[in-house]
Amino acid sequence: MALQSLDITRRSATTTPSPSARQTTEVAKLIDISKCIGCKACQVACGEWNDLRDEVGRHVGVYENPADLSAKTWTLMRYSEVEEKTEEGTRLEWLIRKDGCMHCADPGCLKACPAPGAIVQYSNGIVDFHQENCIGCGSCVTGCPFDVPRLSKKDGKAYKCTLCSDRVSVGLEPACVKTCPTGAINFGSKEDMKQLAASRLPDLQRRGYPNAGLYDPPGVGGTHVMYVLKHADRPELYAGLPKDPQISAMVNLWRGWLKPLALLGMGATILAGFFHYVAVGPKEIDEEDK
């Protein structure tokens, strides 16, 4: 939905500036994985606030439920069992990560989208899908470095976490943040969230996680959903969180370079043809041949 109180900095498939006279504070959600107990209250809150109820699936012997993100599941707890070698022997760690849209500063979905205004980025950093403009091509899926957007089987439109842009626009925190019983999810200005993360790290490092750190990947310009990871040196331990996510070079070539160049080529070809005609004239049959 279009939110008038949130100005837009970027709009998909649009080459002129969007309404952006105001600059709102850049926000971020900080998910401190070391405090998460995997209760899934955030998943429930997300469904509650957004009026979503996914199909009841089948239990397949793992904790993930439902099995994957979907058009109706915008956030999902992912559970990884990891065996860590330490001085005292092998230590089993249960790493739990709340998966969902990372709200990249440089969003691959928005870059890939061909439908004007189907994806917008507000000046506070939230990346939002406007389904009424979505044409259902799935380019956002192709462009996303985190495998987040999902096409609905019901209406063919793409859906993902909105960072509760409707709540944020009226000064509320996202539903998952409000409901988290352990305070593992925090919300505020991006600056504050970075400081909060920094204040958390010495404790974790003292407690035997020397590589604890903040996940705010620079390859996508930083994200507006950040993690505190105990193993920040190996984010892929957390259900395949990418170590250095970037918009794929193939997507950049496709959207960034090829298309304008090809258009230029087409224009040049038409002009070249016209002036060839002007210079050489039609290739006619000589009089004597007739």
């Binding site: 498939a13 298309k259 090809a262 043809g273 005609y277 050489v280 290739k283």
Partner: protein, 208 residues
């Protein structure tokens, strides 16, 4: 000009039907594809009933084009095999483009430039046809890993740009070479036309 009694048949009725259906497919698939190619051309989606309809129709229009193109291309493959004669023609392509034909070898049903165009068209069409399936949503894209979807998307756009450039060239050549369009519309050419543009072909069929 009415068909002269001694006119030579160049394209039979089936060829003409296939050619113009391919052309129709090209225009429809091309315009619907260009709508997604660059924001400046999204307005083309209005021709097809809006963005969502354009997305739904584009692959079907592409299949329509490919069907008639390959039916046409298979019928004419034997006329489009390149030989040594063609190498000499291609070396002199700049002379041909300047409107002269001295020292350029006589050409069969298709000249070397047309043959090169033929094979490049086949390449682009095959590229479009194959890569299109990899990101055809919602039906096929989910079966492939994301890197393959990305690669296919990129190659699809490359082949599309290539095809459009080739067709622009093809259309211009048909305008430049007078009476080519009449030949593709009604099927026949005059003896003088055949002799001038395709002398070897004229010797082969003109005697009848």
């Amino acid at each position: 000009m009415n068909r002269p009694a001694d006119a030579i048949q160049r394209h039979d009725f089936a060829d003409r039907v296939m050619h113009w259906l391919t052309a129709l497919g090209f225009f429809l698939a091309g315009l619907s594809g260009l709508a997604f190619f660059h924001p400046s051309m999204f307005f083309l989606s209005h021709l097809f009933g809006g963005g969502t309809w354009t997305r739904i129709l584009h692959p079907l229009l592409g299949l329509f084009m490919a069907l008639f193109f390959f039916a046409f291309a298979l019928r004419h493959m034997r006329h489009n095999l390149l030989d040594a004669n063609d190498r000499r023609w291609l070396a002199n392509a700049h002379v041909v483009m300047a409107g002269h034909e001295e020292g350029v070898p006589d050409q069969g049903k298709y000249n070397a430039g047309q043959k090169v165009l033929y094979w490049m068209l086949v390449l682009c069409m095959l590229g479009l046809l194959v890569t299109g399936f990899f990101f055809w949503r919602p039906y096929f894209a989910d079966f492939f890993p994301i890197w393959l979807v990305r690669l296919a998307t990129l190659l699809h756009a490359v082949c599309a740009a290539g095809l459009i450039l080739l067709v622009l060239g093809h259309v211009y050549m048909s305008i430049w070479t007078t009476y080519s369009i009449r030949a593709m519309m009604f099927g026949w050419v005059t003896r003088a036309w055949a002799k001038k543009h395709h002398a070897a072909w004229y010797r082969e069929v003109g005697r009848q």
